[in-house]
C-alpha cells in the first residue's frame, strides 16, 4: 500500500495547484482568513459608528438626506428637559442596578462556592434568567407589575395583610423607576454570579487555610483574601455590566416604553423614540452619541482593572 501511495504523494508535492500554492502563501492566507470577520465588522459596526457620529451633526429625517448643522442637535438636547431626565435616569438606573446586581450576585456566587448536593443542577437553574429572551421575561414582569392583578400586591394585601391597597407599580414615576431596576437586577444576577463563581474557584484554598491558621475571621478572610483576589475579574464583569446596563433598551421598552410621563426613559429608549419612531434620525443619533462619553469612562475603568491585574501577577503571567 505504502509503495503505491508514496509516488502519488510526491507528485502532489512537486506540483501543487496554483490555488493551493496561493493559499499556502502566508500573507494571502492571513488576509483571506481575516476578511470575513473584519469585513462584517467594518461594514456593520465601524462604518455605522462613524455614520452615527456624522448623523448627529445633521438634520436627517427618515426619507430625507440631511445637511450639516453643526452642534445644533446637541444644543437642542442640552435645553431639553426630557434628555436631562433620561441622562439622570440612565445614571440612576445603572448605579442602583449595578450595586444591586453585584451585591446579590457576589453573595450568590459565595453561596454557590460551597459544597452541597445538586450543585451543578442549581448552577444551571440560576443561569436561566440570563438565557431566556429579555423581552419575554420583561413581559412576565409587566404582568407581575399589573396594577390590578399583580401577584405581589395579592401577596401583600390578601395573604400577608401588610397593605390595604394594591401597589401601583408602573403608574407613577418613582415606583416605576424602581420596578424597572428590580427587573434589571433580577436579570443581571445570574451573569454576575456565574462569572464571579468562576473567579472564586480559581482562588487557591491554601490561602484560606493559611489565614485560618493565623486566626482570621470569616469577614477578614473575605476582606483580605477573596476581595483582592477577585478584583481583576470583578473589574471586567463590572465594566461589561455597566456598559450594557447603561445602554439597556429592552426592559424599559417592553415594560413601560418610557412612561409614565416620560419618567423612565433611558437614553437608548429616548433615542429610539425620537430617531426611529419619530423619524428624526439626526436627533436620535445625537442622543445615541451622547452615550459615548459614559461608555468610554466605563471602558477606562476596565483598562485600569486589567492593568492592576498585570501589576499583581507580574509580567510573565497573563
Amino acid at each position: 500500500m505504502s509503495v503505491t501511495t508514496l509516488p502519488s504523494r510526491s507528485m502532489a508535492l512537486r506540483q501543487p495547484g496554483w490555488i493551493a500554492r496561493l493559499f499556502d502563501y502566508k500573507p494571502f492566507l492571513i488576509v483571506m482568513c481575516l476578511a470575513p470577520a473584519i469585513g462584517l465588522l467594518t461594514v456593520f459596526l465601524t462604518y455605522p459608528l462613524g455614520l452615527g457620529v456624522w448623523l448627529a451633526f445633521t438634520d436627517t429625517t427618515i426619507g430625507q438626506r440631511g445637511i450639516y448643522i453643526g452642534l445644533e442637535n446637541f444644543q437642542y438636547l442640552l435645553k431639553d428637559p426630557l434628555w436631562w431626565n433620561a441622562v439622570f435616569y440612565s445614571i440612576f438606573y445603572t448605579g442602583i442596578a449595578t450595586i444591586g446586581k453585584f451585591a446579590l450576585g457576589f453573595w450568590l456566587a459565595l453561596l454557590l462556592n460551597n459544597h452541597f448536593p445538586f450543585k451543578s443542577l442549581l448552577r444551571a437553574i440560576v443561569l436561566l434568567p440570563w438565557i431566556v429572551p429579555t423581552v419575554l421575561s420583561a413581559l412576565a414582569f409587566w404582568w407581575i407589575y399589573d396594577p390590578q392583578f399583580s401577584i405581589i400586591s395579592y401577596l401583600l394585601v390578601d395573604v400577608l395583610h401588610i397593605r390595604s391597597t394594591n401597589i401601583d407599580f408602573l403608574g407613577t414615576p418613582w415606583p416605576a423607576r424602581f420596578s424597572l431596576i428590580a427587573a434589571n437586577i433580577w436579570r443581571g444576577i445570574p451573569f454576575v454570579a456565574i462569572s464571579l463563581l468562576a473567579g472564586l474557584q480559581t482562588i487557591s484554598p491554601s490561602l484560606y487555610e493559611a489565614a485560618m491558621l493565623d486566626g482570621a475571621t470569616a469577614w477578614q478572610r473575605f476582606r483580605y483574601i477573596t476581595l483582592p483576589m477577585m478584583m481583576p475579574i470583578l473589574a471586567i464583569v463590572m465594566t461589561f455590566s455597566i456598559i450594557f446596563t447603561f445602554t439597556d433598551f429592552q426592559l424599559v421598552y417592553a415594560i413601560t416604553r418610557g412612561g409614565p410621563v416620560n419618567s423612565t426613559h433611558l437614553l437608548a429608549t429616548l433615542a429610539f423614540q425620537r430617531g426611529i419612531a419619530g423619524g428624526e434620525l439626526g436627533e436620535g443619533a445625537a442622543i445615541a452619541v451622547s452615550m459615548i462619553p459614559f461608555l468610554v469612562f466605563a471602558t477606562l475603568f476596565s483598562y485600569f482593572g486589567l492593568a492592576r491585574r498585570k501589576w499583581q501577577q507580574g509580567e510573565a503571567n497573563d
Binding site: 504523494r9 508535492l13 501543487p16 499556502d24 502566508k26 492566507l29 482568513c33 481575516l34 470575513p36 470577520a37 473584519i38 462584517l40 465588522l41 461594514v43 456593520f44 462604518y47 455605522p48 455614520l51 453561596l111 454557590l112 452541597f116 448536593p117 442549581l122 440560576v126 436561566l128 438565557i131 431566556v132 429572551p133 429579555t134 423581552v135 419575554l136 421575561s137 404582568w143 399589573d146 401577584i151 395579592y154 433580577w186 445570574p190 456565574i194 468562576a198 485560618m212 491558621l213 482570621a216 475571621t217 464583569v237 456598559i243 450594557f244 445602554t247 433598551f249 429592552q250 421598552y253 417592553a254 437608548a268 433615542a271 430617531g275 426611529i276 434620525l281 443619533a285 445615541a288 471602558t299
Partner: protein
C-alpha cells in the same frame, strides 16, 4: 452525602481553632447557606413559574383571585396556546427567528473561526492589535448603532428582510466567538501543526484536519452562545423589520400581541413561554458549554 462526610473532617480542624470553625455547624450552615440559596432560587425562578401558570389558566380564573388560588391552576386549559398557534402568525415568527438565529450563527462561526485561527496561529506582526480591535468591537453596544445601521440597511435595500438581521447580528457575535475560539486554539499544542507542516500539509488542511476537530468543544460553545444571543436579540429586530410576517418572536409578541387596552395576559404569557422554550431546551442540553463559554469569555 459529601456534606455529611465533610463535616466530621471539618470538626477535627475545628478542635484546633475552635472559634473560627463554629461556622460549619449544621444549624449555622442551614441559615447561612441553604436559606439564602432557597430565597435566590425562588426569586430567580418565580417569573417563569408565573409565566407558566398564567399560560395554562382559563381567562375566568386568570383575573379572579378571590375564588381561585392564583398560585395554582384549578382547571388547566390549552386555549391560549391554541389561540397562539392557529389564530396568530406565531408559527411564522418562530420560523423566522429560527432562520435568523441559525443563519447568523453559522455566518459568525465561519468568520470568527478563520479570524481566530489567523490571529492565534498564523501569527503576523500586529496580530495582537487585530485581536484587541475585535475585542473592542464587543464593547460597542447595539443601542448606539441601531439608528445609523437602520440607514445602512435601507441603503442596501435590506430593510424589512430577515437577511438584514442575519448580516447584522454577527457584529456582536463575531467579537465574542473570536475571543472564545482564540482561547481554545491556544490550548491546542502547536507541535501538532508543526508535525503536519513537516508532513507537507497546507495551512488550510491543517485548519480543517487538525485544529478544527480539536477545537470542537469551543465551536459548540461559540455556536450555542451565538444561537441564544441571536434568538434573544431585540433592538435591531425592532428597528429593521416592519411587516408582521418577518418579525422575530420577541418583537412580534410585544408589537403584535399587545393590542388595545385589555391585555390578553394568557396569550402573552403563552407566547413568552413558547418563545423561551427553544433556548431553554437548548440550554439544558448544553449547560456545561454555556457555563464554560461564559466564564471563559470573561476570563480572556
Amino acid at each position: 452525602m459529601t456534606d455529611v462526610a465533610a463535616s466530621p473532617g471539618n470538626s477535627n480542624v475545628a478542635s484546633a481553632t475552635p472559634d473560627t470553625m463554629s461556622w460549619d455547624s449544621r444549624a449555622r450552615r442551614m441559615v447561612m447557606i441553604y436559606l439564602p440559596l432557597a430565597c435566590f432560587v425562588i426569586i430567580l425562578l418565580f417569573p417563569f413559574y408565573w409565566m407558566t401558570v398564567t399560560s395554562f389558566k382559563p381567562n375566568a380564573e386568570l383575573l379572579n383571585y378571590k375564588e381561585h388560588n392564583p398560585f395554582w391552576i384549578s382547571s388547566p386549559t390549552l386555549a391560549h396556546i391554541k389561540h397562539l398557534l392557529f389564530n396568530t402568525a406565531y408559527p411564522t415568527w418562530l420560523k423566522t427567528t429560527m432562520l435568523v438565529a441559525i443563519g447568523s450563527t453559522f455566518l459568525s462561526l465561519f468568520a470568527s473561526t478563520l479570524a481566530a485561527y489567523a490571529i492565534e496561529r498564523l501569527r503576523f506582526r500586529g496580530s495582537p492589535y487585530v485581536g484587541l480591535g475585535i475585542y473592542l468591537a464587543y464593547l460597542v453596544p447595539p443601542s448606539i448603532l441601531f439608528i445609523p445601521l437602520a440607514t445602512v440597511i435601507v441603503q442596501f435595500g435590506l430593510f424589512d428582510s430577515p437577511l438584514a438581521l442575519i448580516l447584522v447580528y454577527p457584529t456582536f457575535l463575531v467579537p465574542f466567538c473570536t475571543w472564545l475560539l482564540i482561547g481554545y486554539f491556544k490550548s491546542i499544542p502547536y507541535e501538532l501543526e508543526e508535525c503536519a507542516l513537516v508532513d507537507g500539509a497546507t495551512r488550510l488542511q491543517i485548519l480543517r484536519r487538525i485544529t478544527l476537530p480539536l477545537a470542537v468543544p469551543g465551536l459548540i460553545s461559540a455556536g450555542i452562545f451565538s444561537f441564544t444571543l441571536s434568538w434573544n436579540e431585540f433592538i435591531y429586530a425592532l428597528a429593521f423589520i416592519q411587516s408582521g410576517a418577518n418579525k422575530t418572536v420577541p418583537v412580534a409578541i410585544l408589537t403584535e400581541l399587545v393590542t388595545g387596552d385589555v391585555y390578553q395576559w394568557g396569550a402573552l404569557m403563552a407566547g413568552s413561554l413558547l418563545g423561551s422554550l427553544p433556548v431553554a431546551l437548548f440550554y439544558s442540553l448544553f449547560v456545561d458549554y454555556y457555563v464554560s463559554s461564559l466564564t471563559g469569555a470573561v476570563k480572556e
